[in-house]
Subunit: 532 residues, 2 copies
């Protein structure tokens, strides 16, 4: 067993003997992997925070800080490319996600592309929304928060949502913040390899070495202290509702921004016309999306809403057959099957019937049978809260509404979600019902889809990966999409009557890049302030 | 005594006998004014919430909701204009603020102008920041929050920051939300007159009658329930830190957005060159700003930072003389003098010396002597937290730093504030020190000023009236400035692959107004999506 080191204050620190440790498990075999990883104590965490704080001061004192960060992000991307094979192998061992296509052809390239997009976003100051009121001598823009960002990544994407390499880290860094990142216990070794790549990129440049730090784990009470620490700028968390809500309470009490991506069940409405028109195709589409990554996507379509007619029942039968026929994927952690068993049991206790699956798969691998549950609209409306419990894995709950009116009643009781989807007839057959349901669902979700499954989350400036609580902590922010996700880590700063030579370049009369978009006296322009 | 009615669910409701009531006091005489005002109970509050919720659904179902709201805001403004004399008289009685120029020539016109600016902002959908990724078939914009907004106004501006007529109300309404407003106990009658004006404007149109509701008071525990209520969209609060923090905890725990404007002491640095160059003029400028409204501005310059040299001591002497000579203004409430006495005593207990003032003025009027305190840089650095306590009124604390280095050390320990100001030599004498101090202060305040007092808060798109905690609840939002302040009450909504005819007009290919600014494929434009 080798005990690995944490990256704190510009050095790989070995933990002293006696430090509590974690190990990674291979969920495909249930066996421990060879390395161990220390739990960082408060002394180390506070050292990291002070180092990050000093690094931010040093960083922002450079007039070219955004360019320097962009260079680092590109260097990091190149390091990941060069280390792809080792990263994919380690992530596969730790998560059992397939090497191909998932890890090597999809997730790692997406992660690398996202770092490059973040570099481009850092270079393009238009995201700062410089607003000039020349007559009032008031000029404002978004500026970095005062302090580093603590990033806690998710379990389900060892690269793309890893605290060390994912979207939150990239957005926080590109917007001017050193990051203190925490590995997820599900992929400690992958996180170490990512941090090593980042470290190599850092050493190749001249940025403060504490720009990026990485720990593996910390005591829960230290996490609560950290998110509330006066020196911290903000926290970004993707994970379980239970943990997220505790962190949120601690950060909120200290007035510290915290951005959360929590649970979601992503309702999908299959309207009667669509099912009558192309039911079998929709079965295929749903099954492919619902079982993607063994159902462990935050945008997994977990709640299916349809009318209990012949086409609706045929859809359920079709899905059940495909779920039964598909080989269950290996789950991300050893305790996932038991958690799923409990979640399914809870749904069952509140009136849902198991159509297919419902039990862990015996054997060493961490597997759960692909599971479809069904409940009547009446039963759902009787216990809407209990039946909106997330079952994170290859599971779906179908609600069979008596009729369109009941479907509308169900739409009204849906909780906040990341996404909401509608499948409708390609002609006009479902238009009236869509017009009735969509406005209700629209206000409860961040992203509304037509004729498309929600699992894909494009890194687009128009993406919204977030939504009303409890899917996230604030409905006005997205955690995916550049530069939109950077706006979370920004303070609005106004300069009032400040002498022209003391203004930051982004707010001076002359456009600093010749192409930065600025809102000058009510109109967006890439030009300079017109001469008086 | 006449007991006044609340405006709930489109009707003026009389409270039943036995309902607890409040009365207004005239702070100039200490005498109760003739009317009484009921405390609304939970039954009424929940009725208001349900009515507001239904009103929002009805409102947003209208394609022309923004135009309709603009019409209401303009009608409301006209009603206020027509009722100016009665409003000014009542506000003067309740707050003792001077009729002229403050109430009639300054604050009421500002309030009316702000309603008209809000009407214009409602009509101009550019604030929604429509973002179109045409290739990705993703389109997003800011949309109203799901639910009405609860607005609790401040005590210090009976019109401009009144929950019933002020900036928070205007921003919440203009962005698509019915508002449930609460009067401040310091101007109950003024709030009633404002609500009557709003009601007259509402009746002249065809908007839902519960678009605007008004209560006078509620039990503290009901306030905590209300801000956390599932049907509420958000809360906007301006007031004391103690109350704000309690409301914030309740709203945060329920995942409900809450925007707070809390305490601020608005540090002002007078650098040595400026004092040497034009000390007497700066005395005048500070005294005028510091005593404006008897010091009861959230942007009151309460903390003065200077070097303990001859010019610095002359500045203190000059201010002390003018403070002693100026007639103390009447404060907003009867208990204000005692609160100020306690605040001054607390500052004194932590090492501040009273230079002038420090005691209530005897007599029936609610008055406190204009008060200047002084503390050494050493003492300030020893107890920075205690010495940053707000003393809301005609008070200022001067910190006399040993030298520039100590001034820099003091800048480092400043808490989050709405504003920070620098007075510097008109030549280059203070440039080096400014360059050292300004970046430190910049990250701690929402608005940074040069050679200007912070008391004025222009309603500009580039204004930032907010700042790092504890001056507000989130450093990324402003409560003044249109349309910027509307962004607080907005959810980011993405449409993914949604059929073109189902998109809202703001996100369709054709620009709905021909001049709305939209970010299409990376560039801001007032044009349509170019034909493929």
């Amino acid at each position: 067993m080798t005990q690995q080191a944490t990256l704190i204050a510009g050095a790989w620190r070995e933990a002293p003997a006696g430090t509590p440790t974690l190990a990674s498990l291979n969920p495909a075999t249930g066996e421990a992997l060879p390395d161990t990883y220390p739990v960082s104590d408060w002394v180390n965490l506070e050292a990291a925070l002070y180092a990050a704080r000093a690094a931010q001061a040093q960083l922002l004192a450079r007039p070219d800080w955004a360019e320097a960060l962009a260079g680092f992000l590109e260097g990091y991307a190149a390091q990941l490319e060069a280390r792809a094979d080792a990263l994919v192998e380690m992530a596969h061992l730790e998560t059992a996600l397939p090497r191909e296509p998932r890890l090597k052809a999809v997730e790692l390239p997406r992660t690398i592309a996202q770092l490059r997009l973040a570099a481009a976003a850092a270079r393009e100051p238009s995201w700062r929304q410089a607003t000039l009121d020349t007559r009032g001598k008031l000029r404002s823009y978004f500026a970095p928060l005062d302090g580093p960002v603590f990033v806690l990544g998710a379990n389900n994407f060892p690269f793309a949502f890893n605290g060390v390499a994912g979207g939150d880290m990239a957005a926080a860094l590109a917007s001017g913040h050193p990051v203190l990142t925490k590995a997820h216990p599900g992929h400690l070794g992958t996180s170490r390899l990512l941090a090593e790549a980042a470290w190599a990129a850092l050493q190749a440049g001249d940025l403060p070495p504490a720009l990026m730090q990485m720990i593996y784990h910390l005591a829960p009470e230290d996490g609560l202290r950290l998110v509330a620490h006066p020196l911290l700028g903000a926290t970004a968390f993707t994970g379980s509702r239970a943990v997220g809500v505790r962190l949120k309470a601690a950060a909120d009490a200290a007035g510290k921004p915290i951005y959360l991506e929590l649970s979601a069940i992503n309702p999908v409405f299959f309207l009667p016309g669509a099912l009558a028109e192309r039911g079998p195709a929709l079965v295929d589409e749903y099954v492919a999306s619902g079982l993607l990554g063994a159902g462990q996507f935050c945008t997994n379509p977990g709640l299916l809403l349809l009318v209990d007619d012949a086409a609706g029942r045929a859809f359920v039968d079709g899905v059940a057959a495909k779920f039964a026929a598909a080989k269950p994927g290996v789950l991300l952690s050893a305790n996932a099957p038991e958690q799923l068993r409990q979640a399914v049991a809870a749904l069952h206790a509140h009136g849902a019937e198991v159509v297919v699956g419902g039990q862990p798969v015996p054997g060493p691998a961490s597997c759960f049978n692909n599971t479809l549950l069904r409940v009547s609209g009446d039963a759902f409306l009787a216990e809407p809260e209990a039946l909106q419990r997330e079952a994170f894995g290859p599971t779906g709950l179908v609600v069979l509404a008596r009729d369109a009116d009941q479907l509308a009643a169900i739409a009204e009781v849906l909780e906040g979600n990341l996404t909401g989807s509608f499948y409708t007839h390609t002609g006009a057959a479902d238009d009236a019902l869509y017009a009735r349901l969509a406005p209700v669902v629209r206000r409860k979700v961040g992203r509304l889809l037509n004729d498309k499954m929600p699992t894909g989350v494009a890194v687009s400036p128009a993406m919204m990966h977030g939504g009303p609580y409890p899917s996230s902590g604030h409905p006005g922010f997205t955690s995916v999409g550049l530069p939109a996700s950077m706006r979370r880590f920004a303070a609005l700063q106004c300069f009032d009557n400040v002498r022209p030579d003391r203004l930051p370049p982004e707010l001076r009369d002359v456009n600093p890049t010749g192409r930065m978009w600025r809102l000058i006296d009510g109109g967006w322009t890439q030009g300079d302030v017109p001469a008086a």
